[in-house]
């Protein structure tokens, strides 16, 4: 994380940074048009995203993730605080030149062909016609749309649009890629394809900022994570250090009541699964003690599995959400949609 960057013409003292994204007390308050009632979408967020990292931003619906991203890219003006990209104030248009962005719920102009759309956004990023022409061929091939370049994008499927959107974000070889739900509507094979492309980028030093509601996606891809809760930063850290919380799950059969009571005193959870009982004990030492008790009681030990807590566990613990996150590992969010609801029909 020691690589530094500077833009041409910048003051080397003030315009260099170890961070691709840096925010300081970033805040956004929306007010309803007529009553003036205030809703805090983002509450004084201070966050640093190291250059070259894969950073995941999590939060339930309405937690402020998209507003935060929009403030980084100047689509939304902060009420207070500041944001910078590679050390440059995010309000300056030049700060956005090294940024590639794939928005959530994008609406690409359907009158473009795939190649035409890439050409347009490439031109807006400042690419020359020759670079655009070369890059369009490369990228359409990279995202598996090489035979679709001349087809109007209104004929593209949702997954194809996501891949084209990714190509658009990569068009000018950005150093920071901001992706808002990049695999939304993409089938499993397509997700893997997108993940492979992104992994290829991080090897080359590109910073990836992933805004997703898919916990499994963030857990498998990102090396840093932050969790937002109602506009506040609830947790931030390295993924590896967050997932080190260990435990051991012991599954047994034919266990008598006395042994069950003894182990339940050591276990953090006890669960009956069909004809077996599942104990989760927090440390290996307690696991050994439990096994001794179980053997002495003549129980059948079916399995002993060391576990780490998943991102889903951490998320639920942090956000206080009791709802089942579901089989797909999606963030439960219906109960935390206050800010989202407030956004409709409100203004700054």
């Amino acid at each position: 994380m020691s690589s530094r960057c500077a833009f041409k013409g910048e003051n080397s003292e003030s315009m260099t940074s170890d961070y691709a994204i840096e925010t300081d007390g970033l805040q956004k308050i929306y007010r309803t048009r007529f009553t003036g009632r205030a809703f805090t979408a983002v509450a004084g967020l201070t966050l640093r995203v190291p250059i070259g990292s894969k950073f995941g931003l999590l939060g339930a619906n309405g937690a402020g993730k998209t507003t935060f991203v929009k403030m980084l890219l100047s689509a939304v003006r902060p009420t207070a605080g500041r944001a910078s990209l590679f050390g440059r104030d995010a309000q300056e248009e030049e700060s956005r030149r090294p940024v590639g962005y794939l928005p959530e719920n994008h609406r690409f102009p359907t009158y473009f062909t795939g190649a035409g759309m890439l050409d347009f956004y490439g031109a807006l990023s400042g690419m020359s016609a020759a670079d655009r022409k070369r890059r369009i061929v490369e990228l359409l091939e990279l995202v598996g749309l090489e035979t679709w370049g001349d087809v109007r994008i209104k004929k593209y499927s949702k997954g194809m649009l996501q891949r084209l959107g990714l190509a658009q974000a990569l068009m000018h070889k950005p150093r920071l890629l901001v992706l808002d739900e990049p695999t939304d509507g993409v089938d499993p094979a397509g997700r893997r394809h997108i993940r492979d492309i992104l992994n290829g980028l991080t090897g080359a030093g590109v910073t990836i900022f992933l805004n997703s509601h898919l916990l499994s996606e963030v857990e498998t891809f990102c090396d840093y994570v932050a969790i937002l809760r109602q506009g506040h930063l609830a947790l931030e850290g390295k993924m590896s250090s967050l997932l080190t919380k260990q435990g051991v799950v012991i599954t047994v059969r034919d266990v008598n009541e006395q042994a069950q009571r003894l182990i339940a005193g050591m276990a953090s959870t006890t669960r009956v699964v069909e004809d077996a009982v599942e104990f989760t004990v927090p440390t290996p030492l307690e696991a050994n003690r439990s096994i001794d008790v179980l053997r002495a009681a003549g129980a059948t030990i079916y399995s002993v599995i060391p576990t780490t807590s998943s991102l889903e566990d951490i998320f639920i613990e942090i956000t206080g959400s009791s709802r089942n996150a579901g089989a797909r590992g999606e963030i439960p969010g219906a109960e935390e949609t206050v800010a989202a609801a407030a956004m409709s029909g409100v203004h700054q």
Partner: protein
């Protein structure tokens, strides 16, 4: 125009390793935005609708309208009169015919252009589209200016096509060429350019094509009404209402007067009153456009 470039190192080895030169020239961005607007106008059939209706009108002049009526009238007027008076009358008659056609095209072209263009500004402000545009290293005023210029270009091309074609048809059929007829092109385009700033402002404020259309059309009617100030001022019974009428007259763009300027130019009558309509309309357009930019700068998307 700055053409300063910066080179970003290529991070994407998986998809090509050549460095990319990123220009900071605003001209490239401006042209890309104009081209995008023209593309959208084409795709929405506005472009073809506008040019299709113009073509119908041209075909009407070419095949249906009996312009030999003009020649017949010229002959008729020429018979009983003396030579000098005949020439004067013929010229005046033909000029009047040209003038009526020009006025018709001015009104027709402006209304058609407003209807065609009203949706082009709000469409770019749709959620999911504007966010991506704003994430590019492009200033907000440039985004709006590019869209405005693209719309104006489509309408200017149509005005040129329509008016120049009818000029050629009438000239070819009558063999009388009055070049001043062509003043209708810049005047109609200028009038539309002013009205378009209102479409832009309402589009930014409300993001509604229908409201933009309503306000723009209403403004043209109000402008024509205010232009009757010589008559109306005498009918108003209080001084403040007269002053209000006069003030509004000077503020609102002068669609009516611009039409009169065009008429005078075609009739070869010196348009004694042409500078004020031009500069007050232009000032109105600039002020409204700046207002739209100011609002756009502060708006969240």
């Amino acid at each position: 125009m700055s053409t300063e470039s910066q080179v970003l190192r290529p991070p994407l080895t998986a998809a090509g390793s050549q460095p990319i030169h990123l220009s900071t020239s605003p001209l490239q961005v401006f042209l890309a935005l104009i081209w995008d607007t023209v593309q959208e106008a084409r795709a929405r059939w506005l472009f073809w609708g506008l040019f299709g209706l113009s073509t119908l009108l041209i075909l009407f002049f070419l095949f249906i309208l009996k312009i030999d009526v003009v020649q017949g009238a010229i002959s008729f007027m020429g018979l009983p009169a003396g030579a000098g008076r005949t020439v004067f009358s013929i010229e005046k008659f033909v000029r009047s015919a040209y003038m009526f056609v020009a006025i018709f095209l001015y009104v027709w072209g402006t209304f058609l252009a407003i209807f065609a263009s009203a949706g082009l500004i709000p469409s770019v402000l749709e959620p999911g589209r504007i966010g991506l545009l704003l994430s590019k290293p492009v200033s907000r005023p440039m985004l709006l200016l590019g869209r405005y210029a693209g719309t104006l270009l489509v309408v200017a091309l149509n005005n040129t096509y329509l008016i120049a074609s009818i000029y050629l048809i009438i000239g070819w059929k009558t063999d009388i060429w009055y070049h001043s007829f062509l003043y209708a092109i810049p005047l109609a385009t200028f009038n539309f350019a002013v009205i378009l700033t209102v479409v832009v402002l309402i589009g930014v404020l409300s993001e509604s094509a229908a409201l933009s259309l309503m306000v723009a059309v209403a403004l043209m009617f109000i402008s024509s009404l205010l232009a009757q100030r010589q008559i109306v001022v005498n009918l108003l019974n209080s001084e403040w209402s007269r002053q209000l009428w006069q003030a509004l007259y000077w503020i609102i763009p002068k669609t009516w007067e611009l039409g009169k300027v065009m008429r005078d130019l075609i009739l070869r009558e010196d348009p004694a009153y042409w500078i004020a309509p031009l500069w007050t309309s232009a000032a109105f357009g600039v002020a409204v456009f700046l207002g739209a930019v100011a609002r756009f700068q502060r708006k969240d998307y």
